[in-house]
Amino acid sequence: MRQVAIIGVGMHPWGRFPDKTFVDMGVEAAVQALKDANIGWQKVQGMAAGIWVWGSLSGLNPGPLVASALGETGIPIINVFTQCATGTDVVRVAHQMVASGECDVALAVALDKSPEGFLTYPANQLHPDMHDTDCVRWKMVGLTNPAYWAMDCRRRMEKYGTTEHHLAKAKVACSKHGALNPRALYRKVFTEEEVLNSPMVCDPLRLYMMCAVRDGAAAAVLCSLDKAKRYTAKPVIVGAATHGSPLYGEASMCPGLVAAATPGETPLISESWVAASKAYDEAGIGPEDIDFLEIADNSSWQYLHYPELLGFCEPGEMDRLLDEGATLIGGKLPVNCSGGLASFGEAVAATGLAQICEIVWQLREQCGDRQVKKAKVGMGQTYGMLGNSASIILKR
């Protein structure tokens, strides 16, 4: 497999865009990425696209619809669906298209439109309720996604002594970065007090300890490294683009399910542990070589759990790192320099690609006030319910 570079990225603003279709937003992001790559659409030889769930079948098929707006050329277009890992996985698929030699240039697009409030149950009329585990969790238990995180969070607090102050600090840390990011939707710097005074949603998680959901779209152009210099002076090399599924004995409370193994030896959120372990192998490095990390902070629980799971510190140690400010830009392990989901809101399918945009900008030293000094290697990680997780390592 040959080396692949990202030669261009584009990001539609995050927010609410009732007058734009998901296709409009995907096209805008794609056009931006192509322009950033100094490459024409007709040079793209393969494409991967993803959305979460919108409408009916057209809303599961964004790729050809976006390509239609760009101009139909007959290239292979793969629609990718791995829940919240989609944005990373569209880049993985595009990477494989180029690394394998099938294409010299591939485009990855991820986009989403979100409802108000809790992400909800997209009804499937084709099958009876009892075979749909996602229906069972809604109807029989009233389990919202944050309720799952809250239960994992409570277990963490009892195991390691994590307090609500740590949960609040996670938000504060992300908001400090969001304030420095002109693209962030939410740019206010929060205080611990404001977070702790926000309404309780799913005890112990309060409103400001969890992210909103929003519309968003992002895109990336990938090219074989040997040809990348034709298009950009700053190619960003893909060190690894991996994907993992759960291991037997997974004990985390996974949204969409109502059962789990009882806690044992399996890493908690094993699909992410697997994806990250494979990423380190593929890139030939370890977490100690990563200069900054983008993770999906759906809630403060994920913010605390993920760096530990990915081997950046010991289990339970994130509490102390947060206390010390180590996860801020300039610290030992900058986490979510973009501001994270806390500062953007989650556009489910697009999150992973938004992370990749940030990593690319950091590695190109285009991040201004939120620049990580001497950034050489960045990592992104996303997790999608019902057993999906993807990792990406990019380097200069």
Binding site: V136, K139, M140, C202, P204, M253, V258, A259
Partner: protein, 145 residues
């Protein structure tokens, strides 16, 4: 005058997930006899990766377990869940059963402030809400012992 008395019925909201009618209901799970992996619902099959025989059977899960963790839901979930109006915060628990499986369920019969992890709980079947025909639509819940 022809008066029709409609009997209010109690019907599982989704059939086949627990034994009903019953004074001591059980969740209906599945198990592989070869690798001893339990799963719920019974159609969401799990095996150990090296399981050779893959010999699954339906099983009634233990009625008692320990509260592994819980949360209190303070905002009404969206449909298809139906909450009372006005909404009353309710607790959801994750309960570890002796079989090595943990099952989620709404917690009933306890004050929210009395909930503690590791407390003993028992399976009950109770009304989730009243359906469009006026019947009690039932679900399973966990009740502290």
């Amino acid at each position: 005058m022809n008066k029709k008395t409609t009997q209010k019925r109690q019907i599982p909201l989704i059939e086949g997930l627990f034994t009903w009618p019953s004074d001591e209901p059980h969740l209906i799970g599945g198990r592989c006899k070869s690798c001893s992996t339990y799963f719920f619902p019974k159609w969401l099959v799990k095996h150990k990766p090296n399981c050779r025989e893959r010999h699954i059977e339906e099983v009634l899960l233990s009625r008692r377990g320990k509260l592994n963790s819980y949360t209190i839901q303070h905002y009404p979930p969206p449909p298809p869940f139906k909450s009372p109006d006005p909404f009353i915060p309710y607790a959801i628990g994750w309960v570890s059963l002796p079989e090595g499986i943990a099952i989620a369920g709404i917690i009933t019969g306890a004050k929210l402030e009395d909930l503690k992890t590791h407390m003993d709980v028992e399976l009950v079947v109770e009304k989730a809400w009243v359906d469009e025909h006026g019947n009690d639509a039932l679900t399973w819940k966990w009740q502290p012992v």
